[in-house]
């Protein structure tokens, strides 16, 4: 495969991991963004429904949505950080491909950290990732 021909002193195992991590990260990003919107809509609908059915006070409904909203914002921020890490990793892979150097292990470490934080943040709002969970 083309990525296995990368120069720049990168070990094949690191290149393999970078390639796999980018692919996995794009999948998590995709599933995360899609699911976040669905989870947000469902949460709001459920709380409004409970309030209108008299099962939840107005204050409790608003408080529960505010608590959810805080976690939602964290998850969105994590998805944006993952997007940045994907872009950086792709750029570093491209630089390595063009024999321009680049710190692929550092980019991979950053991507791995961003991926873990995104998965955790998505879990915290109730999003499950196909292939991860």
């Amino acid at each position: 495969m083309a990525l296995l021909t990368f120069a720049g002193g990168c070990a094949a195992t690191t290149i393999d991991r970078a390639r796999s991590s980018v692919t996995i990260s794009v999948g998590v990003f995709s599933a995360g963004v899609e699911s976040l919107d669905k989870v947000d809509a469902a949460k709001q609908k459920d709380l409004i429904g409970q309030y209108r059915a008299g099962k939840l006070s107005l204050e409790d409904a608003k408080a529960q949505y505010a608590a959810f909203s805080e976690k939602f914002e964290v998850a969105v921020t994590a998805c944006m950080a993952l997007w940045d890490a994907i872009k950086v990793t792709v750029s570093v892979i491209n630089a390595a491909d063009a024999k321009l150097g680049g710190d692929l292990p550092a980019a991979l470490a950053h991507l791995t950290k961003a991926l873990a934080e995104t998965v955790q943040a998505l879990h915290d709002v109730g999003v499950k990732i196909p292939g991860v969970d």
């Binding site: 995709s30 919107d37 947000d40 709001q44 409004i48 608003k62 949505y65 998805c79």
Partner: protein
Amino acid sequence: MGAEAILVAVVPALLKAVAAAIDEYNQSKSDHAAILARMDAALDAAKGAIANLQSAHAQRVAEMAALGK
């Protein structure tokens, strides 16, 4: 089309484009620059989808704030 509808309609297509570009990149030994340019464009568009996600959430926050009034 509302923000939610745009998000649902656009994001899967965008990310499929990114995934396809990565797959093509992994299998191709030539014209990487063009493939990466397409990948960059798809990723840029995906960031726009996040803005739509935030917009939809802001609308729901406003609706919750108005609840009971």
